[in-house]
């Protein structure tokens, strides 16, 4: 990986992962750049490492060989052996010594500061695989864009190289930011978590007025937009929400494509690894029958529905 951590002074962005051969996000074979610093706090978030902008350290119990080198090396004595694993105490200064000494990669940095050029080089590696389908790179999560210089540079490089770009976004940003993004992105994957403003706040920490406004603006600008609806059993899968979503889209984005993304619990382990609390323990994956019901309701409103992205 060419994206080494760089000094904060350099113009760069905070990302936490570059995933190649992504085939469920935005059409074709893509490379996804996962940004950090998401302003939303969705209770079911499968990528909690996307939320903060400051570096975090993940502890991987499954990789740990139990040698205790990290605890011994920690200058703040912040690591304690607990049960069959390690606990990171309050005293951790994120000096990274534990990551450095762990040969098993059981302690890893989350988040790195990268230069746009380095990320672009990584995207270019799969260029041959993008072209047959006109598919491309894809930016996901995080605050959009963060910071502006990094995002502009990266998208400009992609455009020059003829690489199709897609962004998956919560849509929660200032109008100025949206204006800036519209001309440089080829496809928007726009998340709809919940239609009720009050419930949206409860579930994600923010209200959705600005999100809906931005959606309308992007659609109004004639952009290629796909809606993504994470269907979280027990949270946002009510008939009422589905009906409101269908009605809204029928008016504001008639015939729009929509991906239903049924809840999965694959992200739960990350909370433990980051020592963060998981708040959606009651969430469940709606069964096939329920997904089919939702699908047919949305289709009845004239939307083109796929399940799973």
């Amino acid at each position: 990986m060419s994206c080494e951590r760089t000094a904060p002074a350099e113009v760069g962005g905070e990302i936490f992962e570059i995933e190649r051969f992504a085939v469920h996000d935005g059409g074709g074979i893509r490379t996804i750049v996962f940004f950090r610093g998401c302003p939303l706090r969705c209770l079911w978030c499968a990528n909690p490492e996307s939320q903060r902008r400051t570096p975090q350290i993940m502890y991987w119990r499954t990789r740990c060989i139990g040698c205790g080198t990290c605890a011994a090396a920690c200058p703040s004595k912040a690591l304690a052996v607990q049960g069959d694993g390690l606990h990171r105490g309050e005293g951790c200064t994120y000096c990274g010594r534990c990551v450095q000494v762990c040969t098993a990669e059981a302690q890893t940095w989350i988040g790195r500061h990268v230069k746009a050029e380095d990320v672009f080089q990584e995207l270019l590696r799969d260029q041959l695989f993008y072209t047959p389908l006109g598919a491309a790179s894809h930016f996901r999560g995080g605050r959009t864009p963060c910071p502006a210089g990094f995002f502009d540079r990266l998208t400009a490089l992609c455009r020059q190289a003829g690489i199709h770009t897609a962004i998956e976004t919560s849509g929660y940003a200032s109008e100025a930011v949206i204006d800036q993004v519209i001309p440089v992105i080829d496809r928007f994957l726009f998340d709809f978590k919940c239609m009720s403003p009050e419930q949206h706040r409860e579930l994600t920490g923010v209200e959705n007025a600005v999100i809906l406004h931005n959606f309308e603006k992007i659609v109004g600008a004639g952009c290629d937009v796909r809606v993504r609806y994470p269907v979280i059993g027990g949270y946002n899968d009510s008939d009422e929400n589905v009906v409101r979503l269908a009605e809204y889209l029928a008016v504001h984005a008639p015939g729009c494509g929509i991906d239903l993304l049924p809840y999965h619990s694959l992200g739960v382990g990350k909370y433990e690894r980051l020592q963060m609390p998981y708040s959606a323990s009651a969430a469940f994956s709606p069964d096939r029958e329920r997904i089919r019901q939702i699908q047919s309701r949305l289709e009845a409103a004239g939307l083109a529905v796929t399940v799973g992205g």
């Binding site: 190649r20 040969t103 041959l128 047959p132 999560g141 619990s265 992205g309």
Partner: protein, 801 residues
């Protein structure tokens, strides 16, 4: 799709019957062969052997399976294994009572056959190919085999195999036509004027004897079918048996007149080559091409429907599944399921360079989807001229999860074959033999592939140990010292080159001794009748009768060597993160203890690994292979100067399942691999070390010296079934495959991850470090997930299949 409901039922029932048959050892081939060997002891070997072959065909008990539409089996009962005592016999004496106690590939010996088998095996003592090889091979070569830097055991115990007959020749001439050719040649000889014609005269008489045996074999089936027809349970079956009788009266004696006769002819020729000799990887070649004229004619006249053609093809594959090989346990335990590598090649282009995909290609794909068996081994050539519907159908069948078809890129291989001296028309016509090795149908000699295994990981182990094998204590060559005596990475590479050069030479030396032993003791008249230009030249392929002579080993463990060298370079010489003596000790102690494990983790995680699209280690894999290729070029084959074009050996990474046994005698390696663990499969990344997905793997593989690997470069990729499940997913895969072949990729085979694989991954996480779970907006390594989540994924996967 291509088969009728009734046909599908027939295929299902025959398939079930084949899969649930108790496997017996059949003594008959060994009995009649040995009997004839004694009777014709005065004859020259090739004639003695041809007569023995005919004797087997005339005496063996015959049967026709219920509902089968084709006749001909290799032994006296379904899925029974014939014995080939002329290749090796001692193992029979040693293992006869163990065969039914094997944990897998179990065989039963009937009480009445046991003593007879032992008597036969004792008669063969000292007369077999293996005995001859052991008698003539020089000490140094035997030592190299003992050290496992080379392995040629299969060559000595089973013979060559790896042949693709000229099926067009038997289809258009018939056995009588081949006999007539041989007779005419015989008439033209003058042993008085040319004493060299003596050998030719024996050769032609042998060919005649072998093909007369073939005709009488088919006649016997015709008689049997007629008799069974009278006893048939239903009138419909009675008619089917009468049809079989009519077909067997006609072919292979005469040229095939219709599609049914053509399929039966192909089966007889293919079967007989496997009764004649014991090697595996006898392959069907481009069946969709050479059977197409028969198919087309019958379709036009209305004599054949697509349903009937598909059913007949499925019957042929079920017959091929009936070919069973029994081998000494020392081999069997490494190749579970008794693979026979009967390859079928589809698609690609014609000799003239036109799109070769036709309706029969599609029916072949449909028919293997019906049988879903390990045989035949299906290879789909991909050429940019081939239509999308063809690649789509291939992908649909891949999604069924039985690992087939494997895909092969024309663009790279045709150019590579031409660079070896193959004509463009012949190169366009290439087909796959055995696992992934491209050869020219009907024009290449025996064992055009699969000679000695050359073990790059073992050679590196010996290099780092100073030229001596730590396991056996044998010395391969003298080096200045072990790793601790080397002061730079360049010195490591220089020492490795010394070892590689030594082994490359020993390899060919051993192959020549073995080749001459096979040439002398087991010459094959039947096969020679169907390999160009043996009849023309009056000699067997082994004596130089074939048009082309190009052989390959496989080279195993190149990726292990590259990964290990990358670790030594970075961690010992560049970063000095570990001192040489410390590494040498850890390797010797197989990373025991917590410190050993910490070091191993460092080797695994902090040094680059092939398959992650990292230029430096990928380049190292290329360099390592080139160090061998440069030496390999120096030595011609044992046919040099005897007629064929080429007489050279070139690289090949088709390790088949040999990556497992190849690892058994290799100690711990600096890539972090424990002693005895398997080596890498072909040029695939070492299991669990590719962490960036398939596109990164393909980019790494594209950095291998692909155009020089004319013998085939094997790549296995794992995918979850959902990637192939819908049309959109298959389109993405199609795009990826096309891109890979554009960048000079050669072969790719897809393993669809089943729930069984996932459970195995739970039990053996170390081997599945590369297993990626992908859903929208999220991906994770399977290993990193908690057992509960893993179980969820297993359930989901079950659902999707």
């Amino acid at each position: 799709m291509g088969i009728s409901v009734k046909g599908r039922e027939r295929i299902r029932r025959i398939r079930e019957q084949s899969l649930h048959t108790k496997q017996y050892v059949c003594v008959q081939r060994a009995r009649y062969l040995t009997e004839a060997y004694i009777e014709y002891a005065a004859d020259p070997m090739i004639l003695r052997r041809a007569k023995a072959f005919s004797r087997v065909l005339e005496k063996m008990d015959l049967f026709i399976e219920d509902e089968q539409l084709l006749a001909g089996t290799q032994a006296s009962s379904l899925r029974a294994a014939a014995i080939f005592p002329e290749y090796c016999s001692q193992w029979i004496i040693d293992e006869i009572d163990e065969l039914e106690k094997r944990p897998g590939d179990r065989f039963f010996v009937r009480a009445e056959d046991r003593e007879e088998l032992l008597t036969i095996a004792r008669w063969w003592r000292g007369k077999t190919v293996q005995d001859r090889c052991m008698a003539v091979l020089p000490r140094e070569v035997k030592d190299a085999y003992a050290m496992s830097v080379l392995s040629a055991n299969g060559n000595m115990t089973s013979g060559d195999g790896h042949i693709m007959l000229d099926f067009e020749r038997i289809l258009t001439l018939g056995a009588e036509g081949i006999i007539a050719e041989a007779r005419e040649k015989l008439r033209g000889l003058d042993v008085a004027a040319n004493h060299g014609d003596y050998k030719k005269s024996i050769f032609y008489r042998s060919v005649i004897a072998a093909y007369e045996g073939m005709i009488s074999f088919a006649e016997r089936y015709a008689e049997l079918a007629e008799r069974l027809s009278g006893e048939a349970e239903s009138a419909a079956r009675g008619e089917e048996l009468m049809r079989i009788a009519r077909v067997c009266r006609q072919v292979p004696r005469h040229p095939a007149g219709n599609f049914y006769e053509a399929v039966q002819t192909v089966w007889f020729a293919h079967l007989l080559s496997q009764i004649e000799s014991n090697g595996h990887s006898m392959s069907f070649g481009r069946l969709d091409q050479y059977l197409y004229p028969f198919y087309q004619r019958d379709r036009e006249s209305g004599a054949l429907t697509d349903e009937e053609a598909t059913e007949l093809l499925a019957c042929l594959w079920l017959k091929s599944f009936g070919i069973v090989k029994i081998r000494p346990w020392s081999h069997t335990r490494f190749s579970g399921g008794g693979p026979t590598y009967q390859n079928l090649t589809l698609g690609g282009i014609t000799p003239d360079g036109e799109d070769a995909v036709n309706e029969l290609t599609m029916l072949c794909l449909d028919s293997v989807a019906e049988t879903r068996l390990p045989q035949p081994n299906v290879s789909a050539r991909y050429n940019e001229r081939n239509p999308d519907r063809y690649l789509n159908r291939c992908l649909e069948i891949i999604q069924l999860g039985f690992g087939m078809p494997a895909l092969h890129g024309d663009q790279m291989m045709i150019g590579s074959l031409v660079s070896r001296g193959v004509s463009l028309r012949d190169a366009n016509n290439y087909a796959i033999v055995g696992c992934i090795e491209p050869i020219i149908p009907g024009k290449c000699g025996y064992r055009s592939a699969g000679m000695s295994f050359t073990n790059f990981a073992k050679m590196l182990e010996i290099t780092l140990a100073g030229g001596k094998d730590p396991e056996t204590g044998l010395s391969l060559c003298s080096l200045r010292g072990d790793l601790t005596a080397m002061s730079s990475f360049q010195e490591v590479m220089d020492a490795y080159q010394t070892v590689i050069s030594r082994v490359a030479k020993l390899r060919v030396e051993g192959e020549n001794y073995i080749d001459y032993s096979i040439e002398e003791l087991v010459p094959e008249a039947f096969c020679s009748g169907l390999v160009q230009d043996c009849v023309g030249r009056g000699k067997t392929a082994k004596e130089g009768g074939s048009v082309y002579d190009m052989v390959t080993g496989p080279e195993t463990g190149i990726v292990n060597a590259a990964n290990s060298l990358a670790a030594v370079k970075k961690l010992v010489f560049e970063e000095r993160a570990v001192a040489a003596p410390e590494l040498v000790r850890a390797l010797r102690e197989n990373f025991s203890g917590m410190e050993g494990e910490r070091l191993r983790q460092m080797l695994v995680n902090r040094a680059p690994k092939f398959g992650n699209d990292e230029e430096e280690v990928d380049a190292l894999a290329n360099t390592v292979y080139q160090m061998f290729i440069g030496q390999q070029k120096l030595y011609p084959t044992a046919r040099a100067g005897r007629g064929p074009i080429g007489c050279l050996s070139y690289p090949c990474t088709a390790t088949i399942s040999g990556n497992v046994p190849s690892g058994v005698h290799v100690g711990a390696t600096p890539e972090g691999r424990f002693a005895g663990e398997p080596l890498t499969e072909g040029c695939s990344p070492y299991h669990g070390t590719d962490r960036k997905g398939p596109t990164a793997v393909l980019n790494s593989v594209a950095r291998m010296p692909n155009t020089q690997i004319t013998g085939g470069n094997l790549l296995n990729l794992k995918f979850s079934p959902e990637v192939f499940a819908d049309q959109a997913g298959r389109e993405k895969m199609r795009g990826m495959i096309k891109a890979f072949f554009t960048m000079d990729g050669w072969h790719v085979q897809f393993n669809i991850i089943s729930t069984k694989t996932l459970r195995d991954a739970q039990a053996h996480p170390e081997e599945y470090r590369d297993l990626v779970v992908r859903v929208a907006g999220y991906s994770a390594l399977f290993n990193d997930l908690e057992p509960k989540t893993q179980n969820d994924i297993i359930e989901r996967t079950e659902h999707e299949l």
